[in-house]
């Protein structure tokens, strides 16, 4: 359970969320990607107060968020191509304009030749790359990733973090939950959010009052 959380993310910032298992990282991420509403307190995202926002308003904001789930959440009955294309199709992108970006993204994550494969026939690392491709295909304003490199080798982890950094440089706010300290060290300029027992460790107060505007 989360408690006494008060922080602001700077738009265009890069954040790592760390903490021991059970500290509340996944719960915080769920609040961030609007899968859950807080029982108390308030959430403001993209400059909008979303705590009590009507249900119908949520899809608009969710389309601005890319999510990489820890368990991938790929649709098992659909091909890698269709999984990656999902956010575009949901956003109403015409079918003729779907194929190019999806092929490009699959190529970038090294799965161009597995586009018609179903998740069950992909390895854990391949599934994770499909999940990442799906999360970033729409160039989200906020990218939330829960242990995104947990199932890939170090080379692929670097490439993925490079992709996240590239998106970040284009203005996407990135929040990555991870236990991998090497990953954190290899990402210059990233800020660290540490959770312990459902609350934030912020001794300097930098997260509470960050410089710049909030995300």
């Amino acid at each position: 359970m989360l408690r006494d959380l008060d922080f602001r993310l700077t738009g265009g910032g890069f954040y790592f969320l760390t903490g021991p298992s059970g500290a509340g990282k996944t719960s915080l991420l769920r609040l961030l990607y609007l899968a859950q509403r807080p029982t108390r307190g308030r959430i403001r995202l993209f400059g909008e107060e979303l705590t009590d926002a009507p249900r119908d308003a949520m899809p608009h904001f969710r389309r601005r968020i890319g999510v990489v789930f820890q368990d991938f959440r790929l649709l098992r009955h659909m091909s890698a191509f269709d999984n990656v294309a999902l956010p575009l199709r949901i956003s109403g992108v015409r079918e003729a304009e779907v194929e190019g970006p999806v092929r490009e993204m699959l190529d970038w994550v090294g799965l161009a030749d597995r586009s018609s494969a179903r998740p069950a026939t992909l390895s854990g690392g391949e599934q994770q790359r499909v999940a990442i491709a799906r999360a970033v295909i729409n160039r989200p304003d906020l990218l939330v990733a829960d242990e995104p490199t947990g199932n890939v080798d170090s080379d692929m982890a670097k490439r993925l973090m490079h992709l996240f950094s590239s998106l970040n440089q284009l203005g996407t706010t990135v929040v990555v939950a991870t236990h991998d300290v090497g990953l954190i060290g290899a990402t210059p300029g990233a800020e660290l959010i540490r959770l312990e027992q459902g609350t934030m460790v912020d001794p300097t107060g930098a997260l509470r009052n960050p410089p710049g505007r909030g995300a």
Binding site: P59, V67, R73, L75, R76, A85, I90
Partner: protein, 289 residues
């Protein structure tokens, strides 16, 4: 993702189930079959009642319980009346034949008083009371009976049967609706993971509803058409193979309007199922975040 009626091939892959899979088409087919048969029976009964009512509407009888020596005068008076048509005195032999069913050989006895009976039609607008007055002026023992009074209980029974048929159709449609609600909820449970992912990516309730609604619409259309076709075949076999249907419906047949109404039934059932499915899915989705 497009709308319910204009879904793309990609949309159709989202649920990962083939159309016409699961029990929904069969349940709807059974409901459609029953509704079709009951509706056809109800319409045939309505036609029978209408025919029957029309045939006795203007029909009257003059009855003299113990017979009458003034029967020729009565007939002459009736023939002379401009309001009377289709005058048919029932011969005494026919009356005795009828009585023989209850009285046996006694019906042939010359001691038995045989009622005199004259059937006739009254022209529209004619006054039955005036006719009765004229008849009783010639034969005071005579009574004039309207046939519609005699058959009123039968007509009431036929109308009650029509209402029962209509009630059964409504009840079956209600049962079909309940089955559709269960099918929609079951589909939501089956595709919970897919729906969570779609919601998370930013799909609207309408987009998700459209997917399930479309599958149920296809299942319902196939089921209701199948059921209706099977019912039509059964009715056609009964109609051509035996006199059963004719006896059942009093000789009435289904007119073009009735057939058109029956033809619309499977589509109406599909439309009902589609609307019900949409409401059920939207109501359930609103319970999520």
């Amino acid at each position: 993702m497009k709308g319910f009626l204009t879904s793309s091939a990609a949309d159709r892959r989202l649920l990962g189930v083939a159309p016409l899979s699961g029990p929904t088409p069969w349940v709807v087919a059974i409901m459609s079959f029953s509704i079709f048969i009951i509706a056809a029976a109800g319409l045939a009964l309505a036609n029978s009642a209408r025919l029957f009512e029309r045939s006795v509407e203007a029909r009257y009888s003059i009855e003299v319980p113990a017979g009458s020596a003034r029967l020729p005068q009565l007939l002459d008076a009736m023939r002379a009346s401009a309001d009377v048509t289709n005058l048919k005195p029932v011969p005494e032999s026919a009356m005795r034949d009828t009585l023989r069913r209850w009285l046996g050989p006694l019906a042939s006895s010359s001691d038995l008083p045989v009622p005199a009976l004259i059937n006739f039609d009254l022209k529209p607008g004619a006054n039955p009371a005036a006719v009765a007055t004229r008849v009783q002026a010639i034969e005071p023992a005579a009574t004039v009976e309207a046939h519609r009074d005699s058959v009123a209980p039968v007509l009431q029974s036929l109308r009650a049967l029509q209402w029962i048929a209509l009630t059964l159709v409504v009840l079956l449609a209600g049962a079909a609706s309940a089955a559709i609600v269960l099918a929609a909820r079951s589909a939501l449970d089956t595709h919970r993971t897919t729906i969570e992912v779609l919601h998370g990516i930013g799909a609207t309730d309408q987009q998700i509803t459209g997917l399930i609604q479309r599958k149920i619409a296809i299942d319902s259309l196939a089921g209701s058409l199948g059921g209706a076709i099977a019912a039509a075949l059964v009715l056609a076999l009964l109609a051509t193979g035996s006199a059963f249907l004719g006896q059942l419906s009093g000789g009435a047949t289904l007119g073009w309007a009735d057939l058109a109404l029956l033809a619309v039934l499977p589509f109406a059932l599909t439309a009902l199922a589609t609307v019900i499915a949409r409401s059920a899915v939207l109501a359930r989705l609103r319970q999520a975040l």
